[in-house]
């Protein structure tokens, strides 16, 4: 009898606790007015802008301020504002001039700018930051090299000079990127040690920039909380606090947004995006973006060493089918190797679906009975497996039998890297951060290009591109009259030689609560939380 009473007591306690709790904390509402809550895919693994980690690409731009920034366009027909690829405006730099040779750029730095640590921004910070990137030899150094920068000179506390060995068309745009970031060098020197002169260990869990936000708390792998930098030189951000929490599972992220538990979520599938759009309280805002989904064909391997085979592959794919089935109608067809809207980009559409023509080209290349090839794919992007499957179906119609091989995400990145490039035919998207055709082709289509994953190599293309990129920009001019025709020709050559099958541009999709306003699409696909506010 006593035993039964105890059992009943325990049961009653458990049930009442659970019921009590469920009443006390149902699904939480995110609408804590000046706090922005984000369900992220990954949390940064450090705050060094030269070491790009998942999540870091979203958070680091909030902590640092660039010398210049892209101007923002008015809303387009779909209500989206994007960066204006042709115009930059001053941020940490208030003015700049270049000499007649285009190799010396002198910047006047903004006065009165302070970091969260209270240190004043000077030319020393710019020099220290670029020297850091050079010493590390990673992303910042790569950008330094391709923009022809050989030295950064501190002229006066408010004047800094960049010296280039040759003029460069997109140098000023490189300065609008987050890397090399501009650090508070006074603070960084304090945390540096003889064995770690650049304070890289400290940067694993801290940051010292001049951006609108600073780190409040950081728990690696779980959550980071940012708060507004009280010393920021522009007006304080609307969101004074940002909670960036890791929610690795995409269906959970979608449900969190739909239930109002968070304001913003990252990386959803197209089905989830449709559900977000059908909820009256949430919206997936879509920009044309800079993602390009393509099939890469490495001309080093048979049968892709024959241009006719590569062209046949292009003719044998109905892109609209891929757009409909894989991307559920989101996005647009690729029209060439460069994203439309980038400086000097052109529409080079050539390959309308034509299975007969594809078969003729294969026959002319010595394959009258068609070919059998292996298509490698991964899950690097959520759409890759479906793209591979759809391509297999499409190519079958032109007697191209495709065997699919799935490899890991790490493998596809590793095997397509500049040091390996051992895959003949594979699916991989590309994204170029500087919105310039010359930069884009330099990255993806010359032998030294880090994103030239299929090893495309045309010496005359490479030298012409070098010439086009070594032209100084005509400041204030929307279109470069000298450079754009050169780049147009190169884009046409690329399409003619077809090292890729140009498939789809899925667009950049950002899902958020409908009350969040102010979002601007940027080429690094990282929204600036400073731009955002909550409508009443």
């Amino acid at each position: 009898m006593q035993k039964r009473s105890i059992t009943k007591l325990i049961l009653a306690f458990t049930v009442s606790s659970l019921l009590g709790l469920s009443v006390a904390s149902p699904v939480q509402s995110a609408e804590n007015d000046q706090t922005l809550t984000i369900a992220a895919q990954d949390i940064p693994l450090g705050f060094d802008s030269d070491i790009l980690t998942p999540g870091g690409q979203q958070v680091i731009p909030q902590l640092f301020e660039p010398l210049v920034d892209f101007n923002v366009t008015p809303r387009n027909s779909t209500g989206v504002r994007s960066i204006d690829t042709n115009r930059v405006l001053g941020r940490l730099a208030s003015a700049w001039v270049k000499d007649s040779s285009g190799t010396k750029w002198t910047f006047t730095l903004r006065s009165g700018v302070k970091s969260p640590f209270g240190n004043t921004f000077t030319a020393k910070d710019v020099k220290w930051s670029w020297d850091k990137s050079t010493a590390q030899g990673r992303t910042g150094n790569f950008l330094k090299r391709i923009s022809n920068v050989i030295e950064v000179k501190e002229l006066r506390p408010n004047k800094v000079q960049f010296i280039l060995d040759k003029p460069n068309a997109f140098f000023i745009q490189v300065l609008a990127l987050t890397t090399p970031a501009i650090y508070d060098s006074t603070q960084m020197r304090k945390v540096a040690t003889p064995t770690d002169p650049w304070g890289l260990v400290w940067l694993k869990t801290n940051a010292a920039g001049y951006g609108p936000y600073m780190i409040d708390t950081y728990e690696a792998g779980t959550q980071i909380v940012l708060k507004a930098n009280p010393n920021y030189y522009r007006p304080q951000p609307y969101f004074t606090k940002v909670i960036y929490r890791s929610v690795p599972e995409s269906s959970n992220r979608a449900q969190l947004l739909n239930s109002g538990s968070v304001d913003w979520v990252e990386s959803l599938t197209y089905d989830q995006i449709s559900r977000v759009n059908s909820n009256p309280k949430t919206i997936a805002r879509i920009a044309d973006g800079n993602l390009q989904v393509r099939l890469v064909m490495n001309p080093k391997f048979k049968p892709f060493d024959d241009v006719r085979v590569r062209q046949a592959v292009n003719y044998a794919i109905d892109k609209s089918v891929i757009g409909k089935t894989v991307f559920k109608g989101y996005g647009k067809e690729m029209v060439g190797p460069v994203v439309p809207g980038f400086a000097c980009s052109i529409n080079t559409t050539k390959y309308d679906v034509d299975y007969t023509k594809a078969k003729q080209l294969l026959a002319a290349a010595g394959y009258p009975d068609g070919i059998s090839v292996k298509l490698i794919y991964s899950e690097y992007s959520i759409w890759d497996p479906e793209v591979a499957l759809q391509v297999q179906q499409e190519l079958k119609k032109a007697n191209i039998n495709v065997e699919l091989e799935k490899i890991t995400n790490a493998s596809i990145i590793s095997r397509s890297a500049i040091t390996t490039r051992d895959m003949a035919f594979f699916v991989l998207f590309e994204q170029t951060q500087i919105p310039d055709a010359g930069y884009s082709l330099g990255l993806t289509s010359v032998p030294s290009g880090a994103a030239n994953r299929g090893g495309y190599n045309n010496p005359s293309f490479t030298s012409s591109l070098g010439a086009a990129n070594n032209i100084a920009p005509e400041l204030g001019q929307k279109i470069s009259v000298k450079r754009c025709p050169m780049l147009a020709k190169l884009q046409q050559t690329h399409v003619d030689e077809a090292p890729w099958a140009y498939l789809w541009r899925p667009g950049a999709v950002f899902a958020m609560n409908k009350k969040i306003e102010g979002w601007v699409w940027r080429s690094d696909n990282a929204p600036r939380w400073y731009d955002l506010r909550r409508s009443r």
């Binding site: 709790l21 070491i51 690795p248 790490a410 890297a417 994103a451």
Partner: protein, 340 residues
């Protein structure tokens, strides 16, 4: 005294046997990572890195050295307490392991506790009422638990109890977005909240813990239930039990006897399930954004963070060995013949 000495001998013997097991696990994880075609230097260098940068990073990581040499260096570091640093985060692996063990163990212990209580009691009762409706029902439940993937069960529970019924909080980890964790003493939120006298926070932590723990409990409990039922059935039809019943021993005492005789098999099943749950909890952590050891290990595997993956596998191997060591001790105490 003799018993204690024999127990000690068993522990020492098992300890020495576990060394090659752990070394083997370290070698296999080390070898598999190195034999893959992927180059972690490429991932670390970033998408815009050139060949020189990738090569430089590869050299810094020691990837250009022969694999055997890399393994010897790794082992020597391991024995000196240096488990390496994460190539991604730069944080010491051992430090990270200690930081992430509490969330994982807290989740696992609650999940296993629910699973063991449910599995053993339902398995035992089901066998005792073989062929009844409740037996069939329990069998059906266990079949679902055994055959459904753990991540799918987790997602179903979230969909039903969080977003449809709104009984449990969203899968945001150990606490909500606006909650502050208890001051860290042990790293186990439940213990830390209780020791600080924060009872409201304690209940909130339990609330967040319940669904992920239930996910583990369903899978672990089903395995245990199956085994408990089978062992109980086997014992209750044995000659020993028939002999007891023929001598008029009460059903309560017979049940106790059956449970005692079935316990070594059930305990082994619990230990096996605990080891599986340890590995399987990684997916549960991922789904519930738990931020523990499992989620950390999975992320490291996808990003080829060698030191972390090795540290993670080694930790799993050590935990598995510990679980089986504890099992051996418990079984020896239950069935003293094992000590002879």
């Amino acid at each position: 005294m003799l018993l204690l000495r024999r127990l000690l001998r068993l522990i020492i013997r098992r300890f020495f046997l576990s060394i090659p097991l752990i070394l083997g696990a370290s070698f296999v994880s080390f070898g598999i990572l190195r034999l893959s075609k992927s180059n972690p230097a490429v991932l670390i260098a970033g998408p815009q890195a050139d060949a020189a940068t990738i090569e430089k990073i590869g050299n810094e990581l020691g990837l250009s050295k022969p694999i055997l040499e890399q393994y010897v260096i790794y082992l020597s570091h391991l024995f000196s307490g240096n488990w390496g640093t994460s190539w991604n985060s730069g944080l010491p692996v051992l430090e990270e392991i200690f930081r992430r063990i509490p969330p994982t163990l807290e989740l696992l212990s609650f999940g296993l506790l629910l699973g063991v209580l449910g599995g053993v009691s339902l398995g035992f009762l089901s066998a005792r009422k073989q062929g009844s409706f409740s037996d069939l029902f329990t069998k059906a439940i266990s079949l679902i638990g055994v055959s459904m993937p753990i991540f799918w069960i987790g997602l179903l529970l979230i969909s039903a109890f969080t977003f449809s019924l709104q009984i449990f909080p969203p899968p945001l980890g150990r606490l909500g977005l606006f909650d502050s964790p208890p001051e860290r003493i042990t790293g186990y939120y439940t213990i830390d909240a209780l020791s600080a006298g924060q009872f409201a926070l304690f209940f909130k932590i339990i609330h967040y813990l319940f669904l992920p723990a239930l996910t583990i409990a369903i899978v672990a409990g089903s395995q245990i239930l199956k085994q408990a039922r089978a062992s109980t059935l086997e014992i209750q039809n044995s000659e020993v039990v028939r002999f007891y019943r023929a001598n008029g021993v009460s059903e309560f005492k017979v049940s106790k006897l059956i449970l005692l005789l079935a316990s070594p098999t059930i305990l082994t099943s619990i230990a096996m399930t605990a080891v599986y749950a340890l590995a399987g909890s990684a997916l549960v952590e991922l789904i519930f954004s738990w931020g523990g050891l499992g989620q950390w290990g999975l992320t490291a595997i996808t990003s080829l963070d060698y030191s972390v993956v090795q540290g993670y596998v080694l930790t799993l191997a050590i935990f598995s060995t510990l679980i089986f060591l504890i099992l051996d001790i418990v079984i020896a105490l239950v069935d003293k013949r094992k000590l002879i």
